[in-house]
Amino acid sequence: MTRTLANLATVSALALSVALGAGAAQAKDFLLGSELPLTGSLARVGQGMHEGISVAVEMANRNYAGRHSFKVQTIDDETSPAKGVAAVEKLAGDGVVAITGGYGSNIIGPASEAAQKAGLVYITSGGVSPELTQRGYPTFFRINNTDGYALAMIGMLQDMGAKKVSIVYLNKDATSSLAKQVNSALTAKGVTVGMHEFDGSTSDFKPLMNKVKLQDRPDVIAMVGYENDYVGILRAAKVLKPQVKAMVGVWSLATAQMAKEFPDLMENVYGTSMLPYPVEFTQPEAVEFAATYKTLFNKDPDYLGQFGYVQTRLLIDAVVRADEAGTLSKGGLADELRKTDANTLIGRVTFDRNGDNLNFTHRMGQHQGGKVVLVWPKDAANGTMNFPSVPW
C-alpha cells in the first residue's frame, strides 16, 4: 500500500514537473533590442523605422498570444557612431536576444561590430553600403542594399530609352556609391552620363541645374540625395525648365509625405517605392500590417515603416524557430535566420553567407495626381508611366 502510494506520488510529481517544465519552455518572453537615431540629423528616418519595428512586435504579440510575448527595448543612438556602439553594449548587458534597427552605414558599421563582439544578431534595413557585408560577420543581416536601388533606377532608365543622363548626387557615402554604380552600368550600355556631385550645404541648385541644362542637355536627370536636396533640385528645375523627358530620384522621393507637402513639385517625378499610394493591400499579412500601423500611429505606413516591419518580423520568426529547436541560447539564431526564405511585403527575402538579401530589387513609382503609381518593373506595376513628362 505504501509502495503504491509512493509510486503514485512519484509518478504524479514527475507528471506535474513535466507539465510545468514543458509549460515553462513554451510560454516565453523575448526581449529584443533596437538602436536607431531618434534625435540628430537622421531623426526622421530613425523614427520611421522605429514605427515599423513597433508594429512588428505588436503583431507578433497578437499572433503568438498565449504562447510567447515580445518586447523591444529601444535606445537612441543620437545619429552618432560612438553612441550607437554604447547602445549596443547597453542592450547586450540587458540581455536582449538580438538587435533590430540601425540607420546610416556610418553608424551601423561600428554598431554591428559591437554586436558581433557580443555575439548578438544585428539585422537592419538602413545600411546599404557594400562594405558592410564584406566584413564576414556571421551575425550581420540586412534586407536591402545599394544594388537593389541601383538596379531599379538602371532598369527603368533603360526601358525609357534614355541616351543621355545627368546624375546629380550628394557627396555622402550611400548616395555617391549609388551614383557611381548607376554611372558604370549605364556607360557600359553606351549611355552618355554626366556626373555632378554636390555638397550637403547646397540650398540653391540653380547654378548646378543651369550647368546641366546648357552643357549636358540630357534626356533624363537622375537625382540621388535626401528630401531637402530633391526639393531644391526640383525647384531649380521648375524655374530653369531644362528640356528633359523625366526627373528620376531614389529613396524618400516617391512617398505620400512628399506628395502631401509639395504637390506642385512632385507631379510626374519618379522615385523608388515598394508599394503604391494610396496603399491597396490585398494580401492578409499586408492588410493586418497597414491596419496595425494605422491604429498605433494614426497614419499610413511609408517605406521606412515597411522595412522596419519586415526586418523585425523575420527576426521574430527566426527567434521562435530557434527557441523551438532549442538552439536560441546556444547562439543558433544566426543560423536559423540564414535559413529564411520568406515572401514579404518587400518581396522574397533570403540571406546569403554575408547576410545580404540578394533578391532585393526595388520598384519605381511615379507621382501622378497626388498618388504614387508603381510603374517599373512591368510585373509589379499597377499603372502606366506618364512619359515623357515633367513637373512644369
Binding site: 555638397d199 550647368k211 526639393v231
Partner: protein
C-alpha cells in the same frame, strides 16, 4: 558660357541677399553690445516655423502671419536679452555659452513640437519662376526676399545713421560710459537693438520658409553662416554685411558653375579666410580686430 556666368552671378546675388537678411540681425547686436547671439539662427528658424504653422493649420498665406511671428520672435529675443543682461563678468565668453545653451533649448523645443520633417511653403506664387531678359531665372520668393531684405536693411542703416535712437546705439557701442553720461539709457537702447534684430530675424525666417526648406537642425547652420558673414563684413557695418554676403554668394555660385558643386562651401570658407588675412578687421571694420 556667357549665359552660364550671368545666371551664376544672378543666383549668387540672390543667395547673398538671403545670407545678408539672416546675418544683419546678428551683426546689429554684435555691433552694439559686443555680444554674439548664438541663438540668432534659432530665432530665424522660429519665425519660419510660425509661418509653417500658420500656413498648415489656418491655410493662411505666409505673409499674413508676419505680425504674429514678430510678436513671438520679439518676445523670445527680449527674453534672451533679459538673461544676457544678468551676466556681470567675462561678458564675451559667458554670453557666447549662454546663447549657445539657449540655442540648444530652442532647437530641441522646435524638434519636439514640429518633429524632424522638412517643410516649405506650398503657396504656388512663391515658387513660380521669374525670367529676366530671357536669360536670368529666379523664383519669385527669392526676388521678393531680396527686394524686401534690401528695403529692410536700408531702413535699418538709415535709422542707425539718422535717427536719435540709432545714433544712440552707435554711441553706446563706441563708448558706453561716455554715451551714458550724455543721456543715453543703455538698457533701453540695448533692448531696442535686440527687438530690431528680432524684426530682421522674422523677415529672414519667412524668406527661408518661402524660398528654401526648413528643418530643426537648420538653426545652427544659419547661426554659423550669419556669424561668418558678420565677421567678414567687419564690426558695425550694415552695408558691409550685404556686400560680404553677396561676395560669398557669388563665389559659391561661380565655384558650382565652373568647378564642382561639392566644393561650394570650401570656396566660401577660403574666401572668408583670405579676406580676414588681408584685412583683419573684416571688410569694413574699424581696425579693431588686431590683438592688442
Amino acid at each position: 558660357m556667357f549665359e552660364l556666368t550671368l545666371q551664376a552671378l544672378f543666383s549668387g546675388l540672390l543667395a547673398g541677399g538671403y545670407y545678408a537678411t539672416v546675418a544683419v540681425g546678428l551683426a546689429l547686436v554684435f555691433g552694439t553690445m559686443r555680444v554674439i547671439n548664438l541663438a540668432h539662427g534659432e530665432l530665424v528658424l522660429l519665425a519660419a516655423y510660425v509661418a509653417y504653422a500658420a500656413e498648415t493649420n489656418y491655410g493662411v498665406n505666409p505673409a499674413m502671419a508676419i505680425p504674429v511671428a514678430l510678436v513671438i520672435v520679439g518676445t523670445a529675443s527680449a527674453l534672451v536679452y533679459a538673461l544676457l543682461s544678468r551676466i556681470k563678468q567675462d561678458r564675451e565668453i559667458n554670453s557666447l555659452i549662454l546663447t549657445f545653451g539657449l540655442g540648444i533649448i530652442l532647437t530641441n523645443a522646435i524638434l519636439s513640437i514640429w518633429k524632424a520633417d522638412i517643410h516649405s511653403t506650398s503657396d504656388p506664387w512663391f515658387q513660380d519662376s521669374m525670367v529676366v531678359a530671357d536669360t536670368l531665372f529666379a523664383m519669385n520668393a527669392e526676388v521678393a526676399s531680396f527686394a524686401g531684405g534690401l528695403v529692410l536693411m536700408a531702413g535699418v542703416w538709415w535709422w542707425l545713421n539718422h535717427s536719435w535712437q540709432g545714433r544712440a546705439v552707435r554711441a553706446l557701442s563706441s563708448n558706453r560710459a561716455a554715451a551714458t553720461l550724455m543721456g543715453v539709457n543703455p538698457r533701453k537702447i540695448e533692448i531696442l537693438s535686440f527687438l530690431i534684430a528680432a524684426l530682421l530675424a522674422t523677415f529672414a525666417g519667412f524668406a527661408i520658409y518661402t524660398g528654401k526648406t526648413v528643418f530643426p537642425a537648420l538653426g545652427h547652420v544659419l547661426t554659423v553662416k550669419a556669424f561668418i558673414i558678420t565677421v567678414l563684413a567687419g564690426m558695425g557695418s550694415i552695408p558691409g554685411v550685404l556686400i560680404g554676403a553677396v561676395m560669398i554668394g557669388v563665389i559659391e555660385s561661380l565655384t558650382v558653375t565652373y568647378l564642382s558643386a561639392s566644393l561650394q562651401e570650401l570656396a566660401g570658407m577660403i574666401l572668408f579666410l583670405v579676406v580676414l588675412f588681408v584685412s583683419p578687421s573684416g571688410l569694413f571694420g574699424g581696425g579693431r580686430a588686431l590683438a592688442r
